[in-house]
Subunit: 163 residues, 2 copies
Amino acid sequence: MRKDSRLSRMLHVLLHMARHDGPMTSEHIARMLQTNPVVVRRTMAGLRDAGYVRSEKGHGGGWAIAADLEKVSLLDIHRAVGGPSLFAIGAEHENPACAVEAAVNEALEDALREAEALLVARLGAVSLAELARSFDARCVAGGWPHPGEGAQASGSIATSEQR
Amino acid sequence: MRKDSRLSRMLHVLLHMARHDGPMTSEHIARMLQTNPVVVRRTMAGLRDAGYVRSEKGHGGGWAIAADLEKVSLLDIHRAVGGPSLFAIGAEHENPACAVEAAVNEALEDALREAEALLVARLGAVSLAELARSFDARCVAGGWPHPGEGAQASGSIATSEQR
DNA sequence: AATCATGTAACATGATAAGTATCGTGAAAG
DNA sequence: CTTTCACGATACTTATCATGTTACATGATT
């Protein structure tokens, strides 16, 4: 099935927001993600409930960061969007009566647990701030057009805003 | 999303087949898995194509193991059933034009690659024969009714056949 | 010839993220 | 105070894919 892209999308948005002063509208964000404003609101509602972002209605409203990016990990965002299951495979029955099935499930779940622990550790070890910094480094190293630190005063993040 | 249980189911079936002399029908296997014979044939077709099992039509027909279980790993079975993606999360766009999105995707995919490598290594390290032996050990240790080694001459694997 | 079992095709179901349309609510601007 | 803007919420549709189901053809055994 199609993969859950909520974590990926929210990280994308948050990094843009970190480089943006003033709130960003759902409409604006939706264009960045190539989707619909309602999808944006739906997904970002989880981040708001967790206190990572704030939303304001009316003129000049929109979404803004509401937490210290040093203190929020990728894992936190994963959980804020619903913490969906990481794996696409698993056992059919939770508590099988068949001993063979139970043994198979345990073997598989052991392996999955280990991989999940690794993934959780990796995601939990990276803060949004670190991810933003590694983006900066990537720009310098890879020759991407680098969004200048001082060029955003009036809301312009032109270089990497679209898509 | 509902999880793909083909690997789990096929391991379940293969372990039963290893303790069973003579072919097992799709009907019989379907009862074990609590599903439909067509689902069984569809899924086991991949194992047959890979040479791990054999199927025979007509009276006395059905499915039988066709390979040395010491030489077939859990990973082999995973691949034989289509090797579906292990993860339920991922990025939305393959080749994003946005540098921020590209950086986010790379960070996530790095972590996923690592977890996948771990899982692949784990699944690749266990043979079906080892899994069967660990099932035996589990029976002895955990007080499960242990299917006796000599009690299956006429097709009886009564203790752990159903479910 | 009858029966059994697989092979295959075609279609239905279930679950879930994602996409869409619509209306309500509150805040700022004039 | 009316208009406009932007979020909030609900309801519904779409897309996807493993799984479930029905039906029929094919080949092997009796």
